[in-house]
């Protein structure tokens, strides 16, 4: 009856969505599909396959893939261990694990840089211990390290949520029916946690795929990721059409991954934080 009137409450939001989400996307599409003069062209979109950009694309894909994989490998055992332990402090531990997210992300990367740079703290300690210093700053490894460090909480949160919310009864039932530990893990825990892993993958892969800050700070500007190239097109080269074209291609890649790993279910991630 008065439902119709309540729908009106969302009008400001609808206007906002149209004005600040849909129209900007339309703009970036138009820019991407036109050249300087405004004529229709596909060159900016296809530009992603030019040798220079293709190299950056492959690099971005590889680094993002490796970082995501490491995040899963690191986060999954934490969830299993926490599930297995009887401690009541689970929520506190969870809170401590995701707390770094609350800290400014540039600062965290900066801290990482100080730790691993050539005259940084880790090398200083290694020297004191009489070991040869390691040389990882300005290499792809440094970028992966930075990404893992930065995005691990985004993987931990959904994975922990999904694993901790598997009811104990299900596992008990499986055990009663004769499953051993390995079976419980592969047949029950892993399948039931896939949604969490899926949203974790999206939450790690998408930002690391499109990253340019970490690559700039930890990669010393020597390693070009797709994000760096797009950023430079906008801030240095001022070729906005090409930048838009590359962004649209990037968006396509992002959408493909989101589809592969299921809908980005961020509610599983945000649900427990407060």
């Amino acid at each position: 009856m008065n439902r119709n009137r309540y729908r009106l409450l969302s009008i400001p939001y609808v206007i906002w969505v149209i004005g600040f989400t849909l129209i900007p996307i339309l703009f970036i599409l138009i820019r991407a599909l036109t050249d300087d003069g405004g004529a229709f062209t596909l060159t900016n979109i296809v530009a992603i396959f030019s040798p220079l950009h293709r190299k950056a694309l492959i690099m971005s894909l590889c680094l993002a893939f490796i970082s995501t994989l490491i995040c899963i490998i690191l986060a999954y055992p934490v969830a299993l261990i926490l599930r297995g332990s009887r401690i009541k402090k689970k929520n506190i531990i969870l809170f401590i694990l995701i707390l770094p997210m609350w800290m400014n992300f540039i600062l965290r990367i900066l801290a990482m840089q100080m730790l691993i740079s050539n005259n940084g703290i880790i090398n200083h300690i290694l020297e004191l211990a009489g070991l040869s210093p390691m040389n990882i700053i300005n290499t792809p490894r440094a970028i992966v390290l930075g990404m893992v460090y930065d995005y691990l909480p985004y993987m931990l949160l959904p994975v922990l949520n999904s694993i901790l919310s598997i009811p104990e009864d299900v596992i008990e039932a499986a055990k009663d029916l004769g499953s051993d530990k390995f079976h419980v893990l592969t047949r029950i825990i892993i399948p039931l946690s896939l949604t969490g892993v899926g949203s974790g993958i999206t939450m790690v892969f998408v930002p690391s795929m499109t990253e340019f800050v970490i690559a700039n700070i930890l990669g010393g500007g020597k390693i070009q990721l797709l994000g760096n190239i797009i950023e430079q097109e906008f801030t240095v080269s001022m070729n906005w059409n090409l930048g838009s074209g590359l962004s649209v291609s990037l968006m396509a890649f992002v959408l493909i991954t989101s589809f592969i790993f299921g809908r980005n279910n961020e509610s599983t991630a945000t649900g427990i934080t407060i």
Binding site: L9, S10, Y13, V14, T21, A111, G120, V254, T273
Partner: protein, 231 residues
Amino acid sequence: MISKTLGKIYIALIMIFLYAPIGVLIVLSFNDSRSRVVWGGFTLDWYTSLLNNSTIMKALGTTFGLALSSALIASVLGVLGAIGIYSMRQKGYKLMLFATNIPMINADIVTGIALLLWFVRFLPLGFTSVLLAHVTFNIPYVILCVLPKLKDMDIYQYEAALDLGAKESYAFIHILLPQILPGVLSGFLMAVTMSMDDFVITYFTKGAGVNTLSTLIYGQIRKGIKPEIYV
């Protein structure tokens, strides 16, 4: 037993990995030497010089002001939007939920650029453009926090209040709002955090002269950083 200990060690290691860099930052903020490595004694000098550094204080003010105001606007619009979406029919509901998800799924860099391309048409880049951008990516968090609360809410209480003669505004404030308040609060907090943490979107939509802490630090990294920032 052994596996339990191993488990604890593993979790401890992950925590060290996550906290060591932050710990280093905190230690360095008390360090009396300019070098990043050498410990020159305990000092609070950087804290006092921070308070006297107008650029940093201004950026700090911008950051907080931006976070609070964008979160506030996003909360108001988000709550109204969530109630509206909640009472929509299936089709509109799905459509709006999809639109809400766009800024969250979309990469920051794409959102930032898209907003930049749009803003340059009608708005000088500056505090306002950054504020609009922040509200845009904050609203989804509010909506996604409030919607579940609306679904769990007992709608009959609200209708009963109306049947018993309560005015709509009264019922809204005394019955509906308290029930969704936890969702609104967590949405607000999420929005504040996201806004303070954001770098990429701010970077693209800010004009010259406006700096949040993130962009200020990023700018300074190239020039070499003073320990004040760590504070």
